[in-house]
């Protein structure tokens, strides 16, 4: 009710406003850019770097025929305006984030391509808009998003809530699709970089060098567009575009055995100047002390400030380098953040994240199988619910009656189940469940399936590689050990502010499990040709003999008087002087 009233008021304001608004439009900056890099050493010794570029535009994209873009990229703005997009989240990922060993990621994405979009209530044909949108995005990002169709699109009912401003969450306006087979490479990075106002010419984006970014164990780039409140009173809309890129470098395992790193070692570049369009440009380095031992890490050069915050239930300390502060580039022309460990760290005590999951295919043979998902809650005393979303292609026929959920040896009944069976060649299986995870427990979810036989034209190239089943999605409000404070989104670092935090005692986590690779019974594709060859040969041989039989003329021939025996006999007779036979 309050939101509707606010929107109505907004409508009135817009209707009354244009005359006054236009006069000052040339002067005041209605769009801002903030950029941020978060460097966090992972428990295994790898380093995760998370870039975030946030463009905020204080204008309503979906009103007015003429649009004038400054920092916001025109290609995406046109898309949002033309197709009635309310919220758009696209992630392209290579590799798999190992939550168990790397901890909770700031932003996780499933392997391959993931796209989920909320449309405006004014969109009448959502499926058509969705199809058009995925085709256009596929053109913009050079990805095979055009393969998104009804066979891999689902409408989740509970898992994906709008992250931005929304009035009403009618899930028929939502579409979700994952392409687990998609390979992400430089051709996807280049258009992504082109959307940045400074390109890759200045600011933090200088570090985005493709040959280093793809020489890593995890690479994920994403685009998030959503409407947000313009100010605290929330009477007007602003649009926010977040471009994020997460990459994990494995220094520890790939060579020197040392955990020391620097910007130059990771990206083979250093930061030299700032993007003049950015209103904020910061580098955060996670230097949180582990296991109460202080001062284990040493960063150089000395940071401009230190930021303390509670992120995902943990108290964290960050060294902050503000690239816009004049003192930073005074001493040296470039910034090369370095981190050294004072003592070799014993890796035995790796902190285990509160929520993590694992998934695999069980069973044997080519007829049936079983999908097993293990969900771990390692919280010592708190139970919490988790929403599991499972999307399975139609050619794996799920048997819902075989669904079992077992926790601590007992059956665990989900409090909410939404199941939409697949239709052959039309839509996939969708299974959504709300499961309560008791404290310190492992929950095992199994469901059996039968493998379908495809038509021979339906197999993709290289069918013996197997068929991918997209990651399942876990969404949960995880209880926090440390109390969190409510923070202002505009002031806090970007990596904490994508997901809305509900209250101080818990934080939102979305996890993706491993994608599965399932073998389907695959025919021998050369068989038809072999059969044709074989039958043709048989037919041809038969034909040949018949033809011969029918066309040959047969003569009765005198038995010839030749013969080897006779000739030999004649030779002997010649020697003997007897007349030949």
């Amino acid at each position: 009710g309050g939101m509707a009233a606010a929107l109505l008021l907004l409508l009135l304001l817009v209707a009354a406003g244009p005359g006054r608004g236009r006069a000052g439009a040339g002067r005041e900056r209605r769009d801002t850019l903030r950029e941020e890099l978060l460097l966090s050493p992972l428990p295994t010794g790898d380093v995760a770097a998370t870039f975030q570029f946030r463009t905020r535009w204080d204008a309503d994209l979906q009103r007015g025929a003429v649009s004038h873009y400054r920092l916001f990229p025109k290609a995406l703005g046109r898309l949002v305006a033309a197709l009635g997009v309310r919220e758009l989240h696209l992630a392209l990922t290579q590799g798999f984030w190992r939550t168990r060993y790397w901890g909770q990621p700031p932003l996780q994405a499933p392997a391959g391509a993931e796209l989920w979009v909320w449309f405006q209530p004014t969109v009448t044909d959502v499926d058509k808009a969705w199809k058009e949108l995925s085709n256009i995005l596929s053109g913009i990002f050079c990805a095979s998003l055009n393969f998104i169709d009804s066979t891999n699109t689902v409408i989740p009912t509970a898992s994906f809530k709008p992250l931005g401003l929304a009035n009403g969450t009618d899930h028929h306006l939502l579409r979700y699709a994952v392409l687990p087979r998609e390979v992400v490479c430089t051709e996807n990075l280049t258009p992504w970089k082109k959307l940045l106002p400074c390109g890759s010419k200045a600011g933090l984006a200088v570090l985005l060098k493709a040959e280093r970014l793809f020489h890593s164990s995890y690479h994920s780039q994403a685009v998030h567009i959503r409407p947000i409140c313009r100010d605290a009173s929330c009477l007007a809309l602003s649009w926010e575009l977040r471009q994020t890129l997460t990459v994990v470098f494995d220094f520890f395992s790939s060579g020197q055995g040392k955990k020391d790193w620097s910007l130059f070692k990771m990206f083979s570049r250093t930061l030299t100047d700032t993007c003049p369009l950015a209103s904020q440009s910061k580098v955060y380095v996670d230097i949180s002390p582990k296991n109460k031992e202080k001062e284990l890490l040493e960063v150089s050069p000395p940071p401009t400030s230190v930021h303390e915050a509670v992120v995902q239930g943990d108290k964290k300390t960050y060294a902050v380098y503000d690239l816009l502060s004049p003192s930073l580039f005074n001493t040296s022309r470039s910034l090369n953040v370095q981190l050294k460990w004072k003592r070799p760290q014993d890796s035995s005590e790796m902190p285990i994240p509160t929520l993590h999951a694992q998934r695999y295919v069980g069973g044997y043979g080519l007829q049936t199988g079983e999908i097993c998902t293990l969900i771990y809650n390692t919280h010592p005393y708190r139970a919490f619910p988790v929403i599991l979303l499972e999307t399975v292609p139609w050619y794996l026929r799920l048997y819902v009656h075989t669904l079992t959920i077992i926790t601590k040896g007992k059956e665990n009944k989900p409090s909410y189940i939404h199941y939409q069976p697949a239709q052959d060649r039309r839509r996939p299986h969708l299974l959504e469940m709300l499961i309560q995870l008791p404290a310190n427990s492992v929950t095992k979810i199994t469901i059996q399936f039968e493998r379908a036989l495809l038509k021979w034209t339906e197999y993709p190239p290289d069918p013996n590689h197997g068929f991918y089943v997209g990651s399942s999605v876990l969404s949960a409000l995880v209880p926090s050990v440390t109390a969190m404070k409510d923070v202002d989104v505009e002031q806090s670092p970007l990596f904490t502010s994508l997901f809305p935090s509900s209250d101080g005692s818990s934080y939102f986590v979305r996890l993706y499990t491993e994608p599965l690779l399932v073998n389907l019974p695959t025919p021998d594709f050369s068989m038809p040709y072999n059969v044709i060859c074989l039958t043709c040969t048989v037919v041809a041989v038969c034909y040949g003999s018949f033809y011969n039989l029918l066309t040959r003329t047969f003569h009765v021939e005198e038995p010839s008087r030749g013969g080897l025996a006779k000739r030999l006999a004649n030779v002997i007779r010649k020697f003997r002087g007897v007349p030949p036979l």
Partner: protein, 495 residues
């Protein structure tokens, strides 16, 4: 066979009637002209002239002091349907037309023509005027440029945009050096006051959408040459073709629509490369500091004045003078639509279109050309579709594709009929529908020829059957040949 009929009224004011009229006024006359494009295509133009003398109201209007006033006063008295023309013949001594000017073309669909002695001479002059105001042989040839043999097309004709149902106009401000310049442009205001009136007028021709963007760190593809004498940087004419490519990668595709894009770029050179001037082929600086690329758009270089003191704090704030920029861009826009006013004889005076940016007859000029072009496009599309069907025998034409083809044929026939009746507007609408239908039929996904298995490959699959079967047949053929040869020889042996 396409016939373009222009309904035209020739109105004689008192004292301007030539002496050798064949009949007393009013009477009708027809003049035909043949425009041949290639051996098979030709277009006939037919001017249906109605000669009459002025009415009292017209006489009063023609008594105005200046040609502009007369034009404005005559406008409500005319036939205002698209494509029709009205010529007012004024006496040889009339003071309405300035000295040395024989023809004045107004803002609407009329012209004032100074009388000459004989009817034949007057008709020659009228023919010139009508060609300027409706179509010339070269504008029709440009519209049919696909069919004109290669060498014969003038370079101008290649410049014009192809007829389309819509166009997207994108204004881009390129700021390659945001560290030194913060550039602001009031594009919103400029579009509203300069571009919008023109596009409103053109909205009958096609749909237009306008947007703008600012691109930072977008550089030109060539490094300009430093000229010591003028202490400025120069871009020579021959390097201009290389300028666009690297910029175009940044412009962004028009992913959301299928219409052609017109790009207008305003380039503010880097501090280290300014001032930057464009040189023409002879080495002289171009006064507008702008150039255009055929069927693509235009680029203008906007130099920032150097600050008085070199220590002035960076970045320098620049406010773009939009009137100067838009003047250039609008001229380029007219050029791209083939509405250049440069090819007019010197004795002609063209009234400036004023705030609307486009005179009524210029709109007609565009409509004539686009209608002819649309008809040609439809016939080409349908011909290639027919060729495709001939090539693949077992292709399936669905009912909806078939109905689109029928609709396209019907619309194009109606367009041709309307043209021969002189109904330009109806003809243009019909030709637009024909283009839409024919394109929809041609690009229907079911007609992808890769979907059909080529016949030659079917033979390849059955080679294992045909080859062994052919062997005994060939062998027996050889045997027959050998035996007939033996038979021929044997009788001679017997003898």
């Amino acid at each position: 066979q396409v016939q373009l009929v222009v309904p035209m009224a020739v109105v004689f004011s008192p004292g301007s009637v030539p002496g050798d009229l064949p009949r007393p006024l009013p009477f009708r006359d027809v003049q035909e002209m043949e425009i041949s494009v290639n051996l098979r295509t030709s277009v006939t133009s037919r001017y249906e002239m109605r000669y009459r003398s002025t009415t009292g109201q017209e006489e009063a209007a023609l008594a105005a002091a200046t040609a502009q006033e007369a034009d404005a006063a005559l406008h409500p008295l005319q036939d205002t349907t698209l494509g029709s023309l009205t010529m007012y013949v004024v006496p040889e001594t009339s003071s309405l037309l300035p000295q040395g000017i024989n023809v004045y073309v107004g803002k609407y669909r009329s012209a004032l023509v100074r009388a000459v002695g004989s009817l034949a001479a007057l008709q020659a002059r009228l023919r010139e005027v009508t060609q300027v105001m409706s179509f010339t042989a070269s504008s029709i040839a440009a519209a049919l440029s696909d069919r004109v043999p290669d060498g014969q097309l003038s370079p101008d004709a290649r410049r014009y945009l192809k007829s389309s149902l819509g166009y997207e106009i994108t204004f881009s401000l390129l700021n390659p050096d945001p560290k030194s310049h913060t550039v602001d442009w009031d594009i919103e205001g400029a579009v509203n006051s300069y571009v919008k009136p023109v596009l409103d007028k053109l909205s009958m021709v096609a749909n237009f959408s306008v947007d703008s963007q600012i691109l930072y760190y977008a550089v030109l593809g060539v490094t300009p040459r430093y000229d010591k004498e003028s202490s400025s940087f120069l871009l020579s004419a021959h390097s201009l073709p290389h300028v666009i490519n690297p910029v175009e990668a940044r412009l962004g595709s028009s992913a959301a629509s299928l219409y052609p894009v017109l790009n207008f770029l305003l380039y503010v050179p880097e501090r280290s490369h300014s001032p930057l001037y464009i040189q023409d082929k002879d080495g002289a600086p171009v006064s507008t500091n702008a150039f255009h690329s055929p069927r693509w758009g235009g680029i203008m270089v906007y130099n920032v004045e150097a600050p008085a003191s070199p220590q002035a704090s960076l970045p320098l704030h620049v406010d773009v003078d939009m009137a100067r920029v838009m003047e250039v861009f609008l001229a380029q826009l007219r050029l791209l639509f083939g509405l250049s006013r440069e090819e007019v004889p010197p004795e002609f005076l063209l009234e400036s279109p004023g705030n609307e940016g486009l005179a009524d007859w210029e709109l007609d000029h565009l409509l004539w050309a686009h209608t002819v072009e649309n008809i040609a496009t439809v016939s080409t599309t349908l011909t290639s579709l027919a060729q495709l069907l001939d090539k693949i025998g077992n292709i399936v034409i669905k009912d909806d594709v078939a109905s689109e083809v029928y609709r396209a044929v019907a619309s194009v026939q109606s367009a041709v009929t309307k043209l021969s009746l002189g109904h330009l507007h109806a003809a243009f609408q019909a030709s637009k529908e024909a283009v839409t239908s024919s394109e929809r039929a041609f690009f229907d996904p079911s007609l992808l020829h890769l979907l059909y298995f080529p016949d030659d490959q079917k033979f390849a699959i059955y080679i294992p059957l045909f080859l062994p079967m052919a062997v005994p047949i060939l062998l027996s053929l050889v045997k027959i040949v050998r035996e007939t040869r033996l038979h021929k020889k044997e009788p001679t042996k017997m003898d």
